[in-house]
Amino acid sequence: MAILELRDLTKRFGETVAVDRFTLSVEKGEFVSLLGPSGCGKTTTLQMIAGFETPTGGSIALNGRDLSKVPARARGLGIVFQTYALFPHMTVEENVGFGLEMRKVPADERKRRIAATLDLVHLSHLATRYPRQMSGGQRQRVALARALVIEPELLLLDEPLSNLDAKLREEMQLELRRIQQEAGVTTLLVTHDQSEAMALSDRIAVMQGGRLIQEATPFEAYDRPTNGFVSSFLGKSNAIDAHLEAGGAGTTQLRCGDIRLDAPASSHGPGAVLVSLRPERIEFCGAGEGIVSGTVVERVFLGDQWLFKVKTGLGELLVVRRNSGRREPEVGETVHLSWQAEHLRLLEAGSAA
């Protein structure tokens, strides 16, 4: 059964439409991400669910209960803010206990639940510290504990990791996932970071311009994006403008300038299409075996990977290769590229961001 049901949710600020008929449902125990660039309406959506913004249209239902007349304080949601919003004048314990105090939970039970939640986020040893005496990662955990201790039906995370440095962010991703699963809490994450969304969620809802563009599992959204925006926003991608044409014997071909490519099976009719090809699906091969050849114009070493920019007849293509210790082509070298036709994704022309 769906815990959260958003139906045609709309928010207008004067003339601008921040959120446009947004529909989404979140199942019990699920971890769903709202992913999109800044200004795509994801934060406004979260604010409306939390009760800090009033929707212009549409409905929000939590566990079948309509939330439109329910003030923020009575919604019972756990929220982790981007700035953490810890109460600076209270210790960790007092911060975590605040929600229980508001719910008039008896002192002994309160103590027990604070201890259990601090244990969950591995902060038991810092219970009497003040927020300013803690690191960013620790504050993050306090914010999470404060939101979880009230056993919310829904946990809202507003860019929770964006204030952490890269290494800590990766650690916290794993940690966040563990905590979410241990607590078994339904979670909605708002983020602009595609790797965060993919690492954490069961499902991703990609937003652009206030609208839902694609809703899928991370693998599906990455591997089968429904349009050019999703394909370029999730990971790296090569976008090639092409023409789909009938080839001989019932096959189809892609024409791109004077280059012809085998097309994958698809339901697209003939005409202009956008072809998306992931850089890691392209391989280097010997002369004469390649689909296109080109010159390496840039080479970046990323530790576990090499990133190449290759100038070809199809335009500049990104190629990613795993670092396996072999010699890699240098800038200026001619390389031959090949790929499986099934790795090409045909998308609606002009849908790139």
Partner: protein, 285 residues
């Protein structure tokens, strides 16, 4: 290297010079003066003793004046905090346009000369003043309420001019707080009044503290307002010092009273500062 090191000193030299000439020198001279003695026929005698301090500390008359001064300052500070804190919170949440208008309104009293402002209060508070006349005409009172030449009148006029200092100090503190903390408290189930009491107020404490330090010290040493509204009857420390210097011409005694006022205000401020910082340790960096 030596040029590098001299630069900060050179840059602060004008301020240091001004500070030394205008503040330190008169203070030191006042302190020295307070140890001299006074003779009705011979004037100031260049002796050195604690006689003046013994006179002040041994006389109940002076205790009464100091007690009254600190009570007036305390009452002014408390009322300013009670009025100023909520007002600063409203200012913070106002639309930027109305906020600038309201800040101007708040600063209004400071734009008027202290003498003019205080005479205005005298017109309002007098036995035949505006307030008493109005109440009498409405039939609410038979005999005029006594407001001139009372401590209450002085507090009223002091609050009027001191409240901007409190508002600005609290406002500055509130601007430093993360507005998301209010939302966080709300999402955890707190009612607006609880949010104000438990979340906003403690975070405003540094502002209330600095505001009350300013208001208390300015009120304890205020001269024009108590001189005009208190007259000869309601004496405070600063008017007493004035009288010693200009009427009795006993400068050493006046200097001793001034030094005692300075030291006791300092002591009260330091103690209050310690107390609040200890109590609200989390908010102070």
């Amino acid at each position: 290297m030596s040029g590098e090191r001299a630069r900060p000193w050179l840059l602060s030299a004008p301020a240091l010079l001004l500070f030394a000439v205008m503040l330190v020198t008169p203070l030191v001279m006042t302190a020295i003066l307070s140890f001299n003695s006074f003779d009705f026929y011979g004037g100031i005698q260049p002796t050195f003793g604690l006689g003046n301090y013994a006179d002040v500390l041994g006389d109940g008359y002076f205790y009464e004046i100091f007690g009254r001064t600190f009570l007036i300052a305390l009452a002014t500070t408390v009322i300013c905090a009670l009025i100023g804190t909520p007002q600063a919170y409203f200012l913070l949440r106002m639309h930027p346009f109305w906020r600038s208008v309201m800040i101007l309104v708040v600063l209004g009293p400071l734009l008027i000369s202290v003498v003019v402002r205080t005479l205005g209060w005298a017109i309002l508070l007098g036995n035949n003043g505006v307030i008493n006349e109005a109440l009498r005409n409405l039939g609410l009172i038979e005999r005029p309420l006594k407001m001139m030449y009372t401590s209450g009148g002085i507090v009223l006029a002091l609050v009027h001019v001191m409240v901007p200092f409190m508002i600005l100090a609290v406002w500055a503190a509130l601007q430093r707080q993360d507005p998301a903390t209010e939302k966080a408290a709300e999402s955890l189930g707190a009612k607006p009044i609880t949010v104000f009491r438990r979340i906003v107020l403690p975070q405003a404490m540094p502002g209330i503290l600095s505001g009350s330090l300013i208001v208390f010290s300015l009120s304890a040493s205020a001269f024009a307002t108590p001189a005009i509204l208190g007259g000869r009857r309601v004496k405070v420390v600063s008017t007493t010092v004035y009288d010693e210097f200009l009427n009795t011409l006993n400068w050493p005694l006046g200097a001793a009273i001034a030094i005692i006022l300075l030291v006791s205000v300092l002591a009260i401020m330091v103690a209050w500062n310690r107390l609040v910082e200890k109590r609200f340790a989390g908010v102070f960096q």
